[in-house]
């Protein structure tokens, strides 16, 4: 039985507290822990740190099975732990596609054996992500992986009838469809946000309306059939508007925003460096501001990374030939601190909601997003908000180096992560699972 007594840390509400963990569970949280067995616990000094419930990321691409050259479940889980996450959801666009109970169980077991965080597979909505026929959603829900989130991410579920049926069907097991909102016929060969920059660069534009039209359609469908819908990576001011309207109407919609869309704009494409090529694309300053505002007022429920690892050769090339996507697990919390906390848009309490409590609730991950109090599963993240660090792509735990933040000075360092009562990160370093076992 492993016991830890964490001292010196402050809770998000600002109260300095000791946290006593035993056997994977938080036993006592107090200014001075009094539990009789805490004397024999290993003491961990986390002075100056802020304690948050372990972070939950509903949107990652861990590439296994099929693209282990860019990431594996184990390497992705290490990157997650380093970024302060205790649970991540792995998207279905693997090879083979996670559209059967067999594949989701494989991913789930790989996550368990990584022992760095929980890896919850997301099931495909349609067979082969092709948008035509529903995948076996029920079988995936009933599998050992207990899938509750379904998404064709990377592809949009474009056919409105398919989307309607999927929304209806997952009600059977309290599931949710996570939509990648992108009208495919408005975005054929699209390379970046359509606007002044794309026009000047001669890169094919990706209009905001291609995203907004699908969001509008899907909230109306969800309303019509009384289902939950989750909008992946919202990027436009118009999209935020529509979701705000839908929530006001009582529609069961949730939405996520990525850290990179909270910080970067399409001006980055001026370099033609495809490290900034991402789907959905980086938008304009007004969109960034609307996303921050939407995340602050709760229109956007959560931050999700859309961590998308790619090997060097898929980025060391012409913009058009490059793959879409950027890694984000290890920089997410810092970017949120920079864009939301240091701008006074979110308190740390609210950060805990957006990055742990709300995503755990949407995914129905009951062991996560719990309050830091007696009886909760000991999934905890400790950060030093006063520290800053320089992002170095050569030091990432991810197997791929495609971070758009390379060389940037970011605030807030993850000092320790506890996953089910055991540290995965201490002093900012991974403490176990270095070999992925």
């Amino acid at each position: 039985m492993t016991k830890y007594l964490i001292h010196g840390a402050t809770l998000a509400n600002g109260v300095n507290s000791e946290i006593y963990i035993s056997d994977g569970v938080i036993v006592e949280v107090a200014s001075k822990v009094s539990h009789p067995e805490s004397n024999s616990a290993q003491r961990i000094d986390l002075s100056g740190c802020l304690a948050l419930p372990g972070l939950v990321d509903l949107h990652t691409h861990l590439r296994e099975p099929g693209r282990e050259d860019s990431e594996t479940v184990a390497s992705g889980a290490r990157a997650a732990a380093k970024g302060g996450f205790t649970a991540v959801s792995a998207m279905a666009n693997t090879f083979p596609v996670a559209d059967t109970a067999g594949v989701v169980e494989q991913v789930f077991r790989l996550g368990q054996s990584s022992d760095m965080c929980d890896v919850f597979p997301i099931g495909a909505v349609t067979q082969g992500l092709a948008g035509k026929a529903l995948a076996e959603l029920g079988a995936m829900a009933d599998s050992a992986a207990r899938v509750r989130i379904f998404s064709d991410d990377g592809n949009c579920v474009f056919d409105p009838m398919v989307m309607r049926r999927a929304l209806e069907y997952v009600k059977k097991f309290d599931g949710v469809i996570a939509q990648h909102a992108q009208d495919p016929s408005l975005t054929v060969d699209a390379q970046m946000n359509e606007g002044t920059v794309s026009s000047r660069l001669g890169l094919k534009g990706w209009p905001a309306v291609a995203e907004e039209a699908i969001i509008a359609r899907d909230v109306l469908l969800a309303d019509h059939v009384g289902s939950r819908v989750h909008i992946c990576h919202v990027t436009t001011a118009g999209g935020v508007e529509i979701i705000r309207w839908a929530k006001a109407r009582g529609i069961q919609v949730s939405a996520e925003v990525t850290p990179h869309h909270l910080l970067l704009t399409d001006e980055k494409a001026n370099s033609f460096d495809p490290i900034f090529k991402v789907n959905p694309p980086l938008r304009q300053e007004k969109d960034v501001m609307a996303l921050r505002e939407g995340l602050a007022d709760g229109t956007i429920d959560i931050v999700a990374t859309d961590h998308a690892p790619h090997p060097a050769e898929d980025k060391e090339c012409e913009w058009q030939a490059a793959a879409f996507g950027m890694i984000g697990l290890e920089t997410a919390l810092s970017v949120v601190q920079l864009t939301m906390v240091e701008t006074s848009l979110l308190s740390w309490d609210e950060v805990a909601v957006r990055m742990s409590i709300a995503p755990a609730r949407i995914g129905r991950y009951s062991d996560h997003g719990q309050p830091i109090s007696t009886g909760s599963t000991a999934n905890l993240t400790f950060i030093n908000p006063r520290a800053s660090w320089k992002v170095d792509r050569d030091l990432v735990a991810s197997r791929s180096k495609n971070t758009p933040f390379h060389g940037m000075e970011l605030p807030g360092k993850v000092v320790a992560t506890f996953f089910r009562g055991e540290p995965t990160v201490l002093k900012g370093r991974l403490v176990r699972g270095g070999n992925g076992s």
């Binding site: 460096d273 012409e318 913009w319 058009q320």
Partner: protein, 317 residues
């Protein structure tokens, strides 16, 4: 200046210097001996990922008149769907000691990728990239306009120039809007709304959907090639309707000022954006544009390659 990637990289003085240098080069080209020893011993690679015989031979003629060694590397047909080969190709050229790489690529920004990378140390000259830019075409257009309408001296202040057609997909239009306005000309873009880029109102140019009302006010009209395949993407209903509203034909010729010149970067779609009568009329300077292309490219090669090597950019002016 180490590279020529975009006309936006040029200052007013640099642009004029290129035109003035090109004027000197044109004189050389008129002489009995067309070869100069200026770039003897320098290796220039024509790296073409996209077919363009006329641009390639124009650069080749320019390089050879300056006695450079020219290597033609046609990457078309080879496996470039995965971009790695741009890197591999560049490293190969570097190993062969290329002093300059003239690159034509179907991907916008490929020349800048090459210039920003450490894959090659030579100068990079953009010979047309995707729907981005084609700076030497704009320079030769400015040179041609100046020669006819400004006695070959100074800038283009006071002139009005219409660019007509598929602005959206035109690298020639992008480079020209930047350069011609830099040199003081007023640019009018004439196209159907479908073939104008989003945000064109932020460009240093006026916009018109009506060719007939634009023509009487311009000193030069530059017709752009319209790809037949645009029709399939609903940019315009039929080629007949396009020609009717945006083609330069005999009737429209009479709307032009007497001094106005007709230009086309080539290759032309005779009968679509321009009729043979216009292309071959006395006002057409289309054939001369080709000759001027060699002079302008000689000037660019001279200014980029003749002087002492610069680290991260010397100056042209």
């Amino acid at each position: 200046m180490r590279h020529l990637l975009s006309t936006a990289d040029l200052s007013y003085a640099q642009a004029l210097n290129i035109l003035d240098t090109a004027a000197q080069m044109a004189k050389v080209s008129e002489g009995s001996i067309k070869k100069l020893p200026t770039l003897r011993g320098r290796t220039i690679v024509n790296l073409f990922f996209e077919d363009s015989t006329r641009t390639r031979i124009s650069f080749e003629a320019a390089a050879k008149r300056l006695s450079a060694d020219v290597i033609n590397f046609s990457a078309k047909g080879s496996s470039v769907s995965k971009g790695e080969s741009l890197k591999d190709t560049a490293q190969t050229l570097q190993a062969m000691g290329a002093d300059a790489v003239i690159i034509r690529h179907f991907a916008s920004g490929a020349p800048q990728r090459l210039a920003d990378s450490k894959w090659t140390s030579g100068s990079v000259i953009n010979a047309g990239d995707g729907t981005h830019e084609h700076p030497t075409q704009a320079l030769l257009d400015a040179f041609t306009i100046r020669k006819h309408l400004k006695n070959g001296i100074g800038d283009l202040a006071g002139l009005s120039i219409a660019i007509v057609g598929d602005i959206l997909h035109s690298r020639v239009a992008r480079s020209n809007v930047i350069l011609l306005s830099l040199l003081g000309a007023q640019v009018v873009l004439v196209a159907p709304p479908t073939l104008l880029p989003l945000g064109v109102e932020n460009w240093p140019a006026q916009v018109s959907y009506d060719l007939d009302s634009a023509l009487p006010h311009v000193d030069a009209v530059m017709m752009l090639r319209v790809q037949q395949e645009r029709m399939n993407d609903f940019f315009f209903p039929t080629s007949r309707e396009y020609s009717h509203y945006f083609g330069l034909n005999f009737d429209r010729l009479s709307l032009l000022k007497n001094s106005a010149i007709i230009m086309h970067p080539g290759p032309m779609n005779r009968g679509l954006e321009i009729t043979a009568a216009c292309a071959d009329s006395a006002r057409s300077v289309i054939v001369e544009q080709v000759a001027n292309g060699v002079s302008v490219r000689m000037a660019v090669l001279y200014l980029l390659l003749a002087g002492a090597p610069t680290e991260g950019g010397g100056s042209v002016a």
